[in-house]
Amino acid sequence: MRRPARISLVNLLLWALGGGIILFVAVGSWLTLQQGLLTFEDWRSLVIFGVTQGSIYALIALGYTLVYGVLLMINFAHGDVFMFGAMTSFFVADALAQAGFLNSNPIIGMVIVVAVSAVSAMIVALILERIAYRPLRRAPRLVPLITAIGASLFISNSVRGLYGELARAWPRIDSLVGTVDIAGIPFLKTQVVVIVGAILMMVFLYWFVERTRTGRAMRAVSENKDTAALMGIDVDRTIVITFAIGGILAGVAGVLYGIVFNQVHWFMGFLPGIKAFTAAVLGGIGNIIGAMLGGVSLGVLESIAPTLLLTGFGVPTPNQLKDVVAFTVLVLVLIFRPYGLFGRPEGK
């Protein structure tokens, strides 16, 4: 039986909040654009920087979302799997660069770097699953979450113990220095590599999940583990594959990060990990397309929103409030769409 819709106080408050935010965004943007500090080209390059950073978030976010899809758990150590991939990529790339191979054969060199990093990040993800999570499969949901935090600290501090606490400079590749014009828009070559690389990985993942038998098994396990097991799906194997794919994506993200930021260190997994988790929630955790779009939107938002919204109001250090803006958006999305932009309400 349907009851006639009633306007509750909560709804009124939400509408007021929504209206206030739209007004704030509109006035802030208008004031900033009035100042004319940045040119159109500047804004465009901010968007491109945002998409680049966002592509890396998206690749990491996929790892969160895939694991959440099959296990309903947040793998908080995933940021450190990414860090491990990036650190490995540094050692491989640095060795190849020292030998002169990376500059003489950039394509083969990069393939080697990507392959080694992806595989080593995958191995870490698998060890993590086997040691830290599988024994706790039947434990209450908070238990693996706490284990994940412990595992995260363990991985990052192990890397620190092994390789020291100083940041390492990821080698520059000569053929990636400079810009290239695409449709009249100047891109840094590194940005092109990152965006194209991320798109390729995402297309591959989408094909894998939607079109292969293993992908179908993953989807089945994420629907219902017990039913999937009854249908003859090896649930353990499927979970292992999910972790492996998450690890590979994080390893590739680590290489792309090295290419863009030219620097890796043992602590670097933490913040990108949190951001990628945010991106996954933003897009709707458990949803693959959602994680991709969530990552890219978060990157673009971080890049343009502080300047666009706050400069107009005379905030002296808008970029310091980058995380505030990003997480405020997250909170707002969760208020208005608790299951994320592309997610679906749980239990439906």
Partner: protein, 429 residues
């Protein structure tokens, strides 16, 4: 008001007790004092407002370090710890006892970790004094806790101006001292260099929200305006842990400053410098870092690039001379296993340790019949507060009334073949 009333009441009581002791000492010396032929340390300590630290026979003298030994800037704390260890090994036993240094982790990025370290230090009654913190931010919550416990603290690397400014919210109090200079001198030296050597007229600054960075860039901005009417186009901020500075750099570039002064830390510093070269408008802008990035992390993170673009670094003048090069550095390298110092504050930590040990020797009240030694907490503070013309490794040190003891010699360096080479040096009055 209430505090001053309370402390004057305390002083009054103390005066009464002292008068009583004096009276009893002159009329009839106590038995134990007569037996040992000296002042009874137990009675002497009871008369002291802050009391004594007791060290039983056979036990070592215990001091604590409260540095950042984990987290993203762990190398800063480890650098200071190596300085402490060099001093500890060189000095050996003090008053016939071994010295034990308890290494607490005060962190850097999070003020609460400073408080946690302080709580665990005051919970240990054996601790005589403290050397910390690495970052000014963590000293702010730590100092009230240490002061309440009567523990003297000497920081090897806090440089924020406000820590030695009475009346400021961040003021470290009467038990706070530092062998590092106040950033007032560093900021002034940077401004002097910008005005006189580089002859620039516009700068932009970056800070990371820490007292160190925020205050140092403000001193530089104020001094730049005062010394040569220099204009500051923007004073923006980043967060510790940020990795993407392209948006910030684009907005800075819109004002086209000639210099960007970035007194931040690694890894943000090297990332910032690397990304600045990808912004077309900043191709000719001079990058200028401070002591937060004048270290091995910067060299490893973006050393080649920093050298290529001729980046400048301000910081302590490491030209300490023969003793530093011939004795300190070899011992440091032997401990750290590195070929360069991790950060520029090992020498200040070495001096902090030695000053603290001298203070402990000076504060030795006496031993009782069981061989337990007594050390006056107040006398430790008084010794450090009265330090004059102390021949330290980092220069001749004198503590002023606010706790500033550091040598005021700043150098501005550039990288040459992966090593910091001074191009400008100053001693501020």
């Amino acid at each position: 008001m209430e505090k001053s009333l309370r402390s004057s009441a305390g002083l009054f009581v103390l005066a009464l007790i002292l008068a009583a002791c004096q009276a009893s000492a002159s009329s009839s010396p106590s038995e134990s004092a007569a037996a040992t032929g000296a002042v009874d340390p137990v009675a002497a300590c009871e008369a002291l407002e802050l009391g004594c630290v007791e060290v039983p026979a056979g036990e070592p003298l215990t001091v604590a370090s409260a540095l950042a030994i984990t987290g993203a800037v762990a190398f800063l704390g480890n650098d200071a710890n190596f300085g402490i260890q060099v001093a500890q090994e060189e000095r050996g036993q003090v008053l016939g006892r071994d010295v034990e240094v308890i290494h607490e982790d005060a962190g850097c990025g999070d003020a609460a970790s400073g408080q946690t370290a302080a709580e665990s230090i005051v919970a240990n009654p054996a601790i005589l004094g403290v050397m910390g913190t690495t970052c000014s931010r963590t000293a702010v919550p730590m100092m009230p806790v240490l002061e309440a416990a009567g523990l003297t603290n000497i920081s090897p690397s806090n440089t924020a101006v406000s820590l030695t400014q009475p009346g400021h919210a961040n003021y470290g109090g009467e038990f706070y001292f530092r062998t590092a200079y106040s950033d007032f001198f560093q900021g002034s030296a940077v401004a002097k260099f910008l005005c006189e050597e580089l002859g620039v007229t516009t700068i932009a600054t970056i800070h990371d929200g820490s007292p160190y960075a925020e205050e140092l860039q403000q001193v530089a901005v104020d001094q730049f305006a005062e010394q040569c009417d220099g204009e500051t186009t923007s004073q923006d901020g980043i967060n510790v842990g940020d990795t993407d500075f392209h948006a910030l750099l684009t907005t800075i570039a819109a004002n086209s400053p000639e210099v960007i002064f970035l007194p931040i830390f690694s890894p943000e510093g090297p990332l910032f410098v690397t990304q600045s070269q990808e912004i077309p408008g900043l191709a000719d802008t001079i990058m200028f870092g401070a002591d937060g990035v004048k270290d091995g992390a910067m060299i490893k993170g973006a050393g080649d690039l920093a050298q290529e673009i001729g980046m400048y670094f301000s910081g302590p003048d490491l030209n300490y001379g023969g003793r530093y090069i011939d004795e300190f550095l070899p011992a440091y390298y032997a401990l750290s296993g590195t070929e360069t110092v991790l950060a520029p504050y090992g020498g200040q930590a070495y001096d902090a340790y030695n000053i603290l040990m001298d203070a402990i020797v000076a504060a030795h009240v006496g031993d009782d019949a069981d061989g337990t030694s007594y050390f006056s907490k107040e006398a430790i503070r008084e010794y450090v507060a009265g330090l004059t013309d102390y021949p330290g490794l980092t220069g001749t040190l004198t503590c002023d009334e606010n706790g500033d003891c550091g040598a005021r010699e700043i150098s501005i360096d550039q990288l040459e073949d992966g090593v910091f080479v001074p191009v400008f040096s100053t001693r501020e009055p």
